[in-house]
């Protein structure tokens, strides 16, 4: 079965600093999701990447997909305390006639003011 490895597992940065979170798949990546989770809450969809080399941005968050490396990266510019949370990458793949979603273990981000 596919595994998604995220690095780092946790990250503490000072407000205003840039940071990058990586997600590597054990299988070919045809697309990737990025989600954010506040502690004790559901997941909020950030963005989805479907094509190799694709790059998307939402406010100060940019994600890229490198399908050759089976990897995606999430970059936050000028981090703010509101960026704190758990970031999860996910992939859907066909199983049993439908698409099932699997996720990495997440990266816990702390932004100190």
């Amino acid at each position: 079965s596919q595994e998604l490895e995220q690095s780092p597992q946790s990250l503490i940065v000072q407000e205003g600093k840039n940071l990058t979170i990586n997600c590597t798949s054990s299988k070919t990546l045809y697309g990737l999701y990025w989600y954010k989770q506040k502690y004790g809450e559901g997941l909020i969809f950030l963005m989805m990447l479907q094509k190799g080399g694709e790059e998307k941005s939402h406010e100060k968050i940019t994600a890229k997909l490198d399908e050759k490396k089976q990897q995606s990266s999430l970059h936050i510019t000028a981090s703010q305390p509101s960026h704190a949370g758990i970031y999860l990458c996910g992939d859907s793949h066909v199983g049993g006639g439908s698409e099932k979603l699997v996720f990495g273990k997440g990266t816990k981000l702390t932004v100190n003011p």
Partner: protein
């Protein structure tokens, strides 16, 4: 617009007691439905997914079962809870075709004592 409801938000149950968590989706038809569990250090683990009424796929052997009695209703159950069933349970839905994002409920924090 589509919404997903999950309840209860928190639950404390004794070992050996039964469990029933309910998830309902509004505003869409024939969705893919998912149950996930999130435990410390283990990430977001896919437990069950369903492509239609009565169609349940289990990802991991466990003390839990799932049912889909109606198109937009997904129920997670156990006859006898174990301490290891404690965790944060999340329900999610997605459209049944195409590479699209999943939408998550707010989760249920289950503590088995």
């Amino acid at each position: 617009s589509q919404t997903i409801h999950q309840w209860p938000a928190t639950l404390v149950q004794p070992v050996g007691s039964p469990l029933s968590l309910e998830c309902t989706v509004e505003g869409t038809s024939n969705p893919n439905l998912y149950w996930y569990r999130q435990a410390a250090g283990r990430g977001l683990q896919l437990l069950f997914y369903s492509v239609g009424i009565g169609q349940i796929s289990s990802e991991v052997p466990q003390n839990l079962s799932a049912s889909r009695p109606q198109d937009r209703q997904f129920i997670l159950s156990s006859k006898k809870l174990l301490l290891s069933d404690s965790g944060f349970y999340l329900c999610a839905w997605s459209v049944i075709q195409g590479y699209t994002e999943a939408f998550f409920g707010q989760g249920t924090r289950l503590t088995v004592v």
